[in-house]
């Protein structure tokens, strides 16, 4: 009997799906076996991918080229990430882990800058502009949307955005009873913001449920199909 890769994958898929589903009856060794194997295999696989598609092509190959035929500047530019890699690898040892902080500091500095830039250019400004542009009557007309509808939608979006923002206002004042409360108007606006937040999270929750349900359907369907292959 020849075990094709597809058959092996199908059998494994069937088994592991069942093992995972067993969690619905309660945490059990079978589920744990499946989960731990999954964590190990996925981590090992991702590490191998990182090695083959990051470390090797971005570090070793350019480094080799630079050392063999590159200019001094290229050599220096490739030695720096090599040094950083070595410093990070030092974190394997608790004794040398302190040296790794240099590379980690570099990563954090870069990450903080990327985060700031991403927050500004990817979220803050686009979302503000998107809210403002909801009142762009010209654009609405071009999309065959009536002005009233555009204003109505834009107003709800604007109101939702503002009230939600107000909801998160942190500043407060101590009251006579010792509690901290915001100004009355802010508190009222925050209450409206709660409604919008509830709607938003509810809508997202419904989407998550739909995604999970689809995944469950796909898994159950695969189980049925696998069993059906033998009949």
């Amino acid at each position: 009997m020849v075990f094709s890769p597809d058959l092996i994958a199908g059998v494994l898929s069937f088994l592991f799906t069942l093992l995972i589903f067993s969690y619905l009856l309660g945490d059990n060794p079978l589920f744990r076996i499946a989960v731990y194997i999954f964590v190990g295999v996925s981590s090992g696989y991702i590490a191998a991918v990182v090695f083959w598609q990051v470390i090797l092509p971005r570090l070793f190959t350019p480094l080799t080229n630079a050392l063999l035929s590159g200019s001094m500047a290229e050599k220096v530019f490739m030695l720096v990430p090599l040094l950083g890699t070595v410093l990070i690898l030092m974190k394997v040892s608790p004794r040398l882990a302190g040296m790794g902080r240099i590379a980690m500091a570099f990563l954090v500095g870069v990450g903080a800058a990327v985060t700031i830039a991403g927050a500004l250019t990817g979220t803050l400004i686009p979302q503000v502009l998107g809210t403002i542009n909801a009142f762009d009557m010209i654009a609405a007309t071009s999309r065959n949307i009536q002005s009233f509808e555009a204003i109505f939608s834009g107003a709800f979006i604007l109101a939702g955005t503002i009230f939600t923002l107000i909801y998160f206002h942190f500043g407060a004042r101590p009251k006579a009873d010792g509690s901290m409360q915001r100004f009355g108007l802010i508190e009222m606006a925050a209450w409206v913001g709660r409604v919008f937040i509830g709607i938003t999270l509810g809508a997202v929750f419904a989407g998550v449920y739909a995604a999970a349900l689809t995944a469950l359907i796909e898994r159950i369907s695969s189980l049925i199909n696998f069993i059906g292959n033998f009949f």
Partner: protein, 884 residues
């Protein structure tokens, strides 16, 4: 032994026999060994444990050690005098001897407790010890066993009041503590001597005359004479010391008190205090290093001087001035030297001046200045006040624990103080210790000053002790007669040990006092533990008699084992039965009510207040199983049966319509870049949503890329899965794999795809693709692709196929026309599939199950939510009621 000793302080070389560095005056020889556990303090009431005090043996001056050797040679004579004493009694009597333990010092320093030390403390020697040691030798060491026997039997009744203090009272032990500590401290300090010149001048002088005395210790005789002629300056302080003595105080003492009474600044000092200083002397002389003897010499001055009725031996002290041997050692002499002088001077009588050590030769010159006939001894008159000697006396007599060099400044301050220093020393430091001094009278009445033994002992004081500086030959057996040695050995140790033995012996049969609790607890140095006579053996007690009428044996505290230390006041006996008082509390009802209220309040305070819990909602396994059963039953049934009851959605939303138009507009064989940026968890949903769109493409040239490590595998799975049923004959697939770096990687790829991915050689711009399809389950991933490619993709259309969970966040991008179309979730896939001519695909397979699952969820959430709302309200109501 090395030829030279290198000073640990200055590094200079010194002769091996030198005790002090001749350059820096630092001590070269250790004063004592380290007493184990000396630092540790024990508390009263703690059961004493044996301590190894053998280390203290080095305290003894060299002359004592040498004397031991000579004593061995005279052992035979002494042993014959020992008579018929049993071995036990002999051993008991021998134990009090200070020098008894010296036998073992030279040879065996590991001996746990030297006998002399045990005797001082009154602790019973170990029964085996006398047996182990050769009794004969010990007899010899005793300096004449018979002497000792006589002392015990005869000397006790004659003990003067000022000697009564030698009994093992608290002060004694305290003073012993002091000098032990001094010894210890001096060891630590290293060079205590150079700081003690004042003592040299003041105390060496009285010792000197004793060197020439006969039976009666010369120095005592001279002291008597001195005192008779001395100016009162010295005794201003000392005389007052004897004001307090009882009527039993000897005349000479009374006279002394009368003479000095007016000048005494501290009339409250009891007579018994004198015994304290005597004890101090004993302690210092007998066991301490050579510093102490100097002190002892001076100590004897005070009591002897005022007494015109002094016995002969005291009167003979008047000769002191006729023998002006310099009491003051060489200025540079060290304390050790002076201490040695205290005991070493007697040796001058037996030995010629030539045999005198260097320091002794220095005395005359000083004595000449000090000793003026008819005047009080210069060492008393002038030296004491002038050089703060009188004040110094108290300092070192006070038994402070500081080393002598530390006492010197204090002594200077007290030089002209109201109370002589030595009186202060004699004064008990606490009321507890004053108690025994209150009745010193019986002892003086019976004290025999003629007691030859202890006087011989004093005589022997004059015999040269062997300071380190003193030439050893002076103490060699050849140079000393047995008599000298007897006296020598009996000098301080005898009377001291005798005295210490008395109290425990008499009190052995008495019940221990239980008043220790009233004593202020204090911490005792551990070395005192070794000296506590708690476990005094009967043998030791039998040979001693009490010097005190009080026979109470202390059982606890620092005085444990000591007897007569805290005698009850005579006559303090209850004359009548004490009145009986009821211990019952007389409280009114109101008071009791208040008390109950108070108890209630206190109880409420101490009662733990439960922390407001987080009202943790316990898990409901039943609900979970119900949900599992319901959902799985529905889904499995529908999927197994493959029903198609639920119709596919109709109507095409604008975003889906946009995607449909893009897919239809892509020309045949066009290059399409497809990003697979979703997790394997959403593979089923994403494949179902994306498959209808790919089925619309006509022989596309697909390039797969992913910012997810697993994306490339998902792409291949997509090709081999949902698209397997479609016509893939014209499909060309290039899988670029993983694009690391997140949005920066996307940005770099968008700027020059060929540079980032070598497989795309020749493609330098993203606009070279005909369309861009993003399959993602994350709004962030969609955002990254949308934003980072916005400037490079040009006019090429972008379609996003997203998970249902990400649709609400991606939708705005369609609204803002940043993307051309959006297909989200299974619903979007179903709509798209319907718009694709209705060819059944994977969405149709899932649609019934999906719809039923969604409806089931709607019902369960609604019904279950309401039910749990009721339950929650009920719980909250019940909790609120419980709180009230």
């Amino acid at each position: 032994m090395s030829d030279v000793i290198k000073c640990p302080v200055c590094g200079e070389s010194n002769l091996p026999d030198q005790e002090f560095c001749r350059y820096c005056q630092s001590r070269l020889q250790p004063l004592t060994g380290t007493l184990k556990g000396a630092d540790a303090a024990i508390k009263p009431g703690q059961v004493p444990t044996k301590k190894n005090t053998a280390e203290l043996e080095p305290i003894l001056p060299q002359w004592l050690r040498d004397a031991r050797d000579s004593a061995r040679k005279s052992a035979e004579n002494d042993a014959a005098q020992a008579g018929r004493q049993s071995q036990e009694s002999f051993s008991a009597s021998s134990t009090p001897d200070l020098l008894a333990g010296l036998q073992s010092q030279a040879g065996n320093e590991e001996e746990e407790t030297p006998d002399w030390l045990a005797n001082i403390t009154g602790a019973a020697p170990k029964p085996k010890k006398p047996q182990a040691d050769s009794p004969e030798v010990r007899w010899v060491e005793l300096g004449g066993a018979k002497d000792f026997a006589q002392e015990e039997s005869d000397a006790e009744p004659f003990t003067p009041s000022w000697l009564e203090g030698l009994a093992p009272t608290e002060p004694q032990s305290d003073e012993l503590t002091d000098w032990f500590q001094q010894t210890d401290n001096s060891q630590k300090s290293g060079q205590p001597e150079p700081q003690k010149p004042p003592f040299d001048t003041s105390f060496s002088a009285p010792v000197e005359p004793a060197a020439e005395s006969g039976d009666t210790p010369d120095w005592l005789k001279k002291m008597a004479a001195e005192s008779a002629q001395s100016n009162e300056a010295l005794f201003d302080d000392s005389s007052k010391t004897f004001d307090a003595p009882s009527t039993d105080t000897p005349d000479w003492l009374r006279q002394m008190a009368a003479e000095a009474g007016e000048q005494t600044n501290d009339p409250n000092v009891p007579a018994s205090d004198a015994s304290d200083w005597f004890q101090q002397i004993a302690a210092d002389d007998g066991s301490k290093n050579n510093n102490a003897p100097v002190i002892s010499a001076g100590t004897f001055d005070a009591p002897s001087t005022p007494s015109s009725d002094a016995p002969d031996w005291l009167r003979s002290m008047g000769d002191f001035q006729d023998h002006p041997q310099g009491a003051v050692p060489a200025p540079g002499a060290e304390a050790a030297g002076f201490s040695e002088a205290g005991f070493g001077e007697p040796e001058a009588a037996a030995s010629s001046a030539e045999n005198l050590p260097e320091w002794m030769k220095d005395f005359p010159s000083i004595d000449n200045e000090q000793s003026a006939p008819g005047a009080s001894p210069s060492w008393l008159k002038g030296d004491a006040p002038a050089s703060s000697a009188g004040a110094e006396l108290p300092s070192w007599l006070s038994g402070t624990q500081a080393p002598e060099q530390q006492q010197a400044p204090a002594q200077d301050e007290a030089a002209f103080g109201d109370i002589p220093g030595w009186l202060k020393a004699a004064a008990p430091q606490s009321s507890v210790y004053e108690t025994p001094s209150a009745e010193p009278t019986p002892a003086p009445a019976t004290l025999s000053f003629d007691s030859p033994d202890w006087l011989n002992a004093f005589k022997s004081i004059d015999t040269p002790d062997a300071p380190d500086e003193v030439s050893p030959p002076a103490f060699t057996p050849d140079s000393q007669t047995s008599e000298n040695m007897d006296a020598l050995f009996a000098d301080m140790p005898d009377w001291l040990s005798n005295a210490t033995d008395t109290s425990p012996s008499t009190s052995s049969t008495l019940p221990p006092a239980a008043n220790a609790e009233e004593i202020t607890p204090g911490e005792l140095p551990s070395w005192v533990q070794a000296m506590r006579p708690v476990d005094t053996g009967s043998s030791a007690r039998s040979s001693s008699t009490s010097l005190s009428s009080d026979q109470t044996l202390e059982s606890r505290g620092a005085l444990a084992g000591l007897q007569g230390v805290l005698p009850s006041v005579p006559g303090f006996a209850p004359t009548s039965k004490p009145k009986a008082y009821s211990i019952r509390l007389q409280a009114s009802e109101e008071q009791q009510a208040h008390a109950a209220l108070l108890e209630q309040i206190l109880a409420a305070e101490t009662e733990p207040v439960p922390i407001a819990s987080f009202s943790a909602l316990t898990t409901s396994r039943g609900l979970r199983w119900f949900l599992v059963a319901a959902v799985f039953a529905v889904l499995m049934a529908v999927l197994f049966m493959g029903t198609q009851i639920f119709p596919m959605p109709v109507g095409v939303p604008p975003e889906i319509n946009g995607a449909l138009q893009v897919s239809q507009s892509i020309p045949e064989g066009a290059s399409v870049l497809v990003a697979f940026d979703y997790e394997p968890a959403r593979a089923g949903e994403m494949e179902a949503a994306a498959a209808p769109l790919f089925n619309l493409l006509r022989q596309p040239n697909l390039t797969f890329i992913s910012t997810n490590e697993i994306g490339s595998i998902l792409a291949e799975r997509f090709i081999s899965g949902p698209l397997a049923d479609s016509d893939k004959s014209g499909f060309q697939v290039l899988n670029l794999g993983y694009l690391p770096g997140g949005q920066m990687g996307i940005r770099a790829f968008a700027q020059n795809p060929g540079l980032t991915s070598p497989q795309l050689a020749g493609i330098t711009s993203l606009s070279q693709f005909m369309a861009l399809i993003i399959i993602t389950d994350s709004p962030d991933s969609a955002r990254m692709w949308i934003e980072q490619t916005s400037f490079t993709r040009g006019a090429i259309p972008m379609v996003v196929i997203s998970s249902a969970q990400a649709a609400p966040m991606i939708q705005p991008y369609y609204d803002s026309q940043q993307i051309s179309g959006l297909v989200s979730g299974l619903y979007g896939g179903a709509v798209f599939e319907q718009s694709n001519g209705g060819i059944p695909g994977i969405t149709r397979t899932y649609w019934d199950a999906y719809s039923l699952g969604m409806l089931l969820a709607m019902v369960l959430i609604t019904g279950g939510g309401l039910w749990n709302l009721v339950l929650g309200l009920r719980n909250r109501t019940s909790m609120a009621g419980g709180t009230k």
